[in-house]
Amino acid sequence: MKRPPASVTERIAFSLFRLSAIAGTAILILVMVLLFLAGKDALSWQFLTAPWQHGDITKGGIFPAIVGSMYLGLGVIFISFPLGIGTAVFLTEYSGDTRWRRTIQLAIRNLAGVPSVVYGLFGLAIFVHLLTFGMSLAAAVLTLSVMTLPWIITASVEALLAVPRAFRESSQALGATRWQTVSRIIIPSALPGCITGGIIGLARALGETAPIILVGATFYLTRLPTSPFDKYMALPYHTFILATQHSSPSAPAYAAGSALVLITLTFVLSIGAILLRLQFRKKRVW
């Protein structure tokens, strides 16, 4: 059989690539549109700002869940981002023996694939019971931070390794110590990549339901958490209960509305990081 001419093969291949790109984007848009249609009736100022009413959910809003998720997101950023970059810097710049480093890196990559409910159990055992934080915001933040660490470490290690060797040599040849080179040249150059890892980790932490159920997420609270050791409400868990457990006829719309708010909140928290990354990237041309 004669092979079709190269130009035909190319056209078929490119059509297939285009098709997969369109399919990927279309599914995403479809999800957003359906979610919006299902939840648009629930969305109102009261929905966003009023406390939760258990009896008649149409009288209340999801404000406590928004606040709870915001605390979780910010907590995770402040704990796991510095910790993750610190670990990555140690692995790439200070742990000389490369076989040792590769073993640890492999372990960290595998940790990224561990199901989130396992992290929930870990958090329950360590933070809730062993460290006696109880079912609390603090335990949840730490659990989610541990869960997102592998992502941030892996992304940061890649970013640090991508910094050209010439930068290190030039800095050292000018009489910089290793720490000066790391802190003034290498980390600033790698930061956009590290932030990308942070954004992915944050988005995942905000959306998690399973681990936070185990460490203190609550469906109904009469007041906002005032200390890190209080219980809290959170959007993903709230969505889950509304969608599956609640008998009110407006529950499905409220579930979709909560999911929309969750996506928006994730986006808002990410956008800060994205803007910061843009600012750092502007200067990074090599």
Partner: protein
């Protein structure tokens, strides 16, 4: 010959089981340009990097013999490498500016000595616009060092209106002169250049050669080059390396006029290389 600024005696360098330099001994006079020539892998770059201990970062390297700079054996294990590198600056083969502004690139060597950069913005997130007149009149040590270094590196006139721009917006030749400015901003005694013109066009190369001839009144310059014409044009003394040994060392006139050794003659006449 005036008292040497660098004295090398029986220098051996091994990478694992490979001998990169064997029994190299010679003296380098201050305020001269010394050209180091030889084929690829002859050990000239290794020699250059042993002078500021840049080989330390390679895990398998072993060094023997002595290199005396300013009366001190810098191969001694107690040598303060950071202090040594402030006295022995280096410029690499490809221009290696940092992803910072032109100003911050030159200021970097002083900043790491603990001198405060007056033009630093919060977290370096924004670039401050720097007026060159203001800078020339300033009495801040970093401002003065930046202006002086850029002028010495013959770059000032070309960049004085865009000191706050990223260094990557300069041309290749300008970037290499920026790297020279960065190296001399901390006033080293010795400047090492590792094939600094190999990625540059003839005009930029000429510019750097002129610059080096001007700099030798203040600095002792060692330059590794594959370009024999370049060594002939600018070097006072020339060392010819071959397979890890210093075959011949003499004035440029001796080496290019009528070298004593057959190997040297063959190399400078282009029989191999």
């Amino acid at each position: 010959m005036t008292a040497p600024i660098i004295s090398v005696r029986s220098l051996d360098v091994h990478y694992g089981s490979v001998t990169a330099l064997h029994d190299v001994s010679f003296d380098i006079a201050p305020n001269e340009i010394t050209g180091l020539i030889g084929a690829s892998g002859s050990g000239k770059s290794t020699f250059l990097r042993s002078l500021n201990r840049m080989l330390d970062h390679l895990p398998t390297v072993r060094m023997g013999g002595t290199i005396t700079i300013g009366g001190e054996n810098i191969l001694h294990e107690k040598t303060d490498v950071v202090r040594l590198r402030r006295r022995v600056g280096m410029v690499f083969q490809n221009p290696t500016p940092f992803p910072k502004s032109v100003f911050d690139n030159v200021a970097y060597g002083l900043e790491i000595q603990g001198i405060r950069n007056p033009r630093k913005s919060f977290l370096s997130l924004t670039r401050l616009r720097i007026q060159h007149q203001e800078l020339e009149a300033s009495d801040d040590p970093i401002d003065q060092a930046v202006v002086r270094s850029l002028k010495e590196a013959a770059l000032w006139e070309e960049v004085k209106h865009r000191l706050h721009h990223s260094a990557y917006r300069l041309s290749g030749g300008q970037q290499q002169r920026l790297c020279i400015a960065r190296a001399i901003a901390i006033r080293p005694d010795i400047l090492l250049l590792d094939e600094p013109c190999s990625s540059l066009d003839p005009l930029s190369t000429r510019c750097i050669e002129q610059l080096l001839l001007g700099l030798k009144k203040d600095y002792t310059i060692l330059i590794v080059t594959h370009n024999l014409q370049q060594a002939r044009r600018i070097a006072d003394h020339v060392g010819f390396f071959h397979t890890g040994e210093l075959v011949e060392f003499g004035t440029a006139k001796e080496i290019f006029g009528g070298p004593g050794k057959t190997l040297t003659r063959e190399y400078v006449e282009g029989a191999f290389g």
